[in-house]
């Protein structure tokens, strides 16, 4: 079973205690954006086979949203971090590179 540690309350929570929230760090497209940007924001997803940054909510716990870095092939968790950030923190990126040599953060949409 997938176990993520909530960065707020510190509980190592089973996936039954958590609610998945999809891809993290999406840039919100507002009313002023182009159709392409709005479509990308609403529907297009990275869906990587490998390292994935995603949102979770500690639904049956403290109730807060947080972020996790996880491998979608092995379900290996590289770390969790609070939601108040626009990009993954350096220690998470370092941890991923340590375990997945040669991995680089994909930037852009």
């Amino acid at each position: 079973m997938l176990i993520l540690t909530c960065p707020y309350c510190g509980v190592a929570a089973d996936e039954t205690e958590l609610a998945p929230g999809g891809e993290a760090h999406l840039t919100r497209a507002g009313v002023e954006s182009s159709d392409e940007d709005f479509e990308a924001y609403l529907f297009q997803r990275k869906n990587p086979k490998g390292v994935h940054f995603e949102r979770w909510r500690h639904a049956n716990g403290c109730g807060k949203w947080f972020h996790a870095a996880r491998c979608t092939v092995t379900n290996e968790v590289f770390g969790t971090y609070p939601a108040q950030t626009l990009e993954p923190p350096k220690e998470i990126l370092d941890e991923i590179v340590a375990r997945r040599p040669g991995w680089t953060l994909e930037t852009g949409p």
């Binding site: 997938l2 996936e15 999809g22 529907f43 997803r45 995603e54 996880r70 092939v73």
Partner: protein, 414 residues
């Protein structure tokens, strides 16, 4: 060789030494008119109808693993077409009607069994939803009806219709739905393709897509480079990976969906029962195993395994609906990677790269669509633009907000 009763007798008298291989071991030629990536049901059906309906026979079907080893070999083999929206009803009904004669068409027994599919209504909302679907189906000329709990009990005596948590309030019944042998569908199409001179190349993973001036030139594979005029990507769960090679993104997320089978028991149910409220569905295979489909994971993954608690939830709910299965031992469980779109409807579309076509997004319900999906995709690849069956399933529907929102494709029960 054409299979027939005469051949069975003839080969039996010769000690079964004369049967030829159903499809040969192929090595890739340097160039094809069309390449289909993915030798699952949809990919093979696409290639088959390209040859049969459109005369495009210089075709290769590339498969990274083995033939039909992905979701084609991992589903619960349910065939139905009781969808709400017109475009879905059209393509799924086309598919179901092709299944009816597919054994004759392919000269290969796919064991299509139109035993009837019943979708239980276990809440008042489902009753209203399925009544609406039955009315919509009547207009679409798809034969379904909403039946009473008494009729449910008559058709499937092992159902407990008066359970405390999930009473059966009625059901949407499609008498002409049923099941088929999933491997045989892939094998039958592969044999049909090979007979037309197409190359089914297994253990050949596509690692790159080559293009010039926005137009596809060919693919790079683990068995070398192969050129092609047209390319069809038909790879279900890994669509996103292939789309990235072609330089575009898809409105798709990949999840693991699970199924399991019990030990074989004597015949006890001769219909397919789906219970969407509790995310479970069950039928009995010809071997006697109870085939049970479970829920999908909530988060992206390519594990082909899935979370254990989904199995627990499915089985817990099914035991209340079918009390007699509570002592059954489960033999096997497995997962497949399904590609889910936002509106739970598939994508059959041209792509930003010229002469590259994609068929994906069938989510949790692709098996029932194999013949119709192949038919529509072949038409699109041959003519360069989608025909009537596929027109509504283009990638542009997300930008334009033209969703095909499927209430009965609840994202789980297929």
């Amino acid at each position: 060789m054409r299979y027939s009763a005469f051949q069975i007798v003839r080969q039996a008298l010769r000690g079964h030494q004369g049967w030829p291989r159903a499809w040969g071991e192929a090595t890739a030629k340097p160039r094809y008119d069309a390449i289909v990536i993915g030798a699952g049901g949809h990919g093979l059906a696409t290639a088959y109808y390209l040859g049969r309906n459109h005369g495009v026979r210089n075709v290769a079907i590339l498969e990274k693993g083995w033939l039909g080893g992905g979701n084609t070999g991992r589903n619960t083999t349910i065939i139905r077409s009781n969808y709400l929206q017109d475009p879905s009803a059209a393509i799924y009904e086309k598919s179901r009607s092709l299944y009816e004669t597919l054994s004759q068409e392919l000269n290969y027994n796919i064991m299509f069994s139109p035993r009837g599919v019943m979708m239980l209504a276990q809440t008042e909302h489902e009753v209203r939803g399925y009544r609406r679907t039955a009315h919509a189906n009547a207009l679409q000329e798809v034969q379904t009806e909403f039946i009473t709990p008494e009729r449910v009990k008559e058709l499937c005596p092992i159902i407990e219709t008066r359970g405390p948590r999930y009473p059966v309030l009625g059901a949407l019944w499609q008498a002409r739905g049923g099941t088929a042998r999933h491997d045989a569908v892939a094998w039958g199409y592969a044999r049909g393709c090979a007979e037309m001179g197409m190359d089914v190349i297994q253990q050949c993973e596509v690692t790159g897509i080559r293009s010039a001036n926005g137009k596809v030139k060919g693919v790079t594979t683990t068995k070398g480079e192969i050129d092609c005029d047209k390319l069809a990507i038909v790879v279900a769960g890994h669509s996103g990976v292939l789309a990235e090679m072609a330089g575009f993104r898809l409105p798709i997320e990949s999840l693991a969906l699970q199924a399991l089978v019990s030990e074989p028991i004597k015949p006890c149910m001769d219909v397919v029962v789906m219970a969407n409220t509790v995310h479970g569905y069950m039928s009995q295979s010809d071997k006697g195993e109870m085939v049970i489909g479970g829920g999908a994971d909530g988060y992206n993954n390519y594990t082909q395994r899935g979370s254990f608690h989904h199995i627990e939830e499915t089985v817990r709910a099914l035991i209340e609906t079918f009390p007699m299965i509570s002592r059954l031992k489960m033999l096997r469980m497995w997962g497949g990677i399904v590609d889910m779109t936002g509106d739970r409807s598939p994508i059959i579309s041209k792509t930003p790269m010229e002469n590259v076509f994609i068929n994906c997004g069938w989510g949790t319900g692709g098996f029932k669509a194999i013949p119709g999906s192949g038919w529509a995709t072949a038409e699109m690849v041959a003519k360069g633009a989608p025909g009537a069956l596929a027109a509504e399933f283009g990638l542009d529907r997300f930008r334009e907000g033209r969703f095909i929102d499927e209430s009965v494709a609840a994202g789980v029960a297929h």
